[in-house]
C-alpha cells in the first residue's frame, strides 16, 4: 500500500485482534486502519451507529461470536474499528472450489470455516456422496 507513513499506538489487545483479523483476511494492519478511518470520516461526526441488524457497509452481518457478545447488551455496535474487527472471517476472499480426490479428513476441513457458503456446502455434499464421508 502506498501512502504517507504515520505512527499510531494501538492498545495491545486491539493490535492482537487486528493482526489476527489480518491473517484471516490477508489484509495488513495499515489497510484495515485505513478503511476504518475512512469509514469514520464518512460519518462526519455523526453519533454512534445503531446496533448491527443487517449489514455494516459492504460486510455481511457478523455471526454470533465471543467478540459480538462482548458488546455487553447483546447487540454489537458498529464503530469504525469494529467494522474491521467484527466482519465474518474470510468474507473478502473468494471461495475456492473443493478439489477432487481429497482424503475424507482433508475434505471435511476444506472450507469448514465457510460453512455458510451454499456453493461450497453443495460441493462438499456432492463429494461426500461420491467418495463416502
Amino acid at each position: 500500500m502506498s501512502g504517507r507513513r504515520s505512527t499510531i499506538y494501538l492498545e495491545p489487545e486491539l493490535h492482537k485482534r487486528l493482526r489476527r483479523r489480518g491473517a484471516e483476511e490477508e489484509r495488513t494492519v495499515s489497510e484495515m486502519v485505513n478503511s476504518a478511518v475512512a469509514a469514520w470520516l464518512e460519518t462526519d461526526g455523526a453519533p454512534p451507529a445503531p446496533p448491527v441488524t443487517a449489514t455494516a457497509g459492504s460486510a455481511p452481518p457478523p455471526p454470533a461470536s465471543p467478540v459480538a457478545a462482548a458488546a455487553g447488551d447483546g447487540a454489537p455496535r458498529v464503530t469504525p474499528l469494529s467494522v474491521a474487527v467484527l466482519a465474518p472471517p474470510g468474507w473478502q476472499t473468494p471461495v475456492a472450489p473443493l478439489p477432487e480426490g481429497l482424503a475424507p479428513p482433508v475434505r471435511r476441513l476444506f472450507g469448514a470455516l465457510r460453512g455458510g457458503d451454499p456453493d461450497l456446502a453443495a460441493q462438499q455434499a456432492a463429494a461426500a456422496s461420491r467418495y463416502g464421508a
Partner: protein
Amino acid sequence: MILLAPDVILDVLLARAPHAEPAARLLDRVVRGDLEATMSAGTAALAWQVAERAVGTQAARGLVEQLLALVPVTPLGGTTLLEALAAPIADADAALLHATAIAATAGTIVTREPRQFEGSTRAIRSPAEVLATLPG
C-alpha cells in the same frame, strides 16, 4: 518434515481461492503419509480463535481436534522462545515459526509469505513448490 505456517492452514479452513487448492493437496499428501508435517502451537491457537468466531465454540473445538489429528503440534517451550529471540528474523511471528521448525527438525517451512522469513536457515517453500518435489 515440514512446518505448515498459519496461512497455509487457514487457506484450507477458509477455502481461500486461489491458494486453498495447493494447500489442501499438500495436506492430503500428509494425510496419505507421503511426508511428515507439523505446526506450531500458535497456528493451532489461531485456527481455534478464527473457528470460534466463524462456527461457534462447540464446532470450533471439534474442528481443531480434527486438525490436530492430521497435523501434530510441536510444543513451544522456553528454549524455543529463546531460539526465536536470537533468530535473525525481524518479524516476531516468523521468528517463532522458524524456531519451532528448528525444534521439530523440520527442514522446510511451508508458507506463501516467504518475505517474512528473510534470514531463516530453513528452506521456505510454497505448498505448490513442495508438491512439485513429491512423486506422483
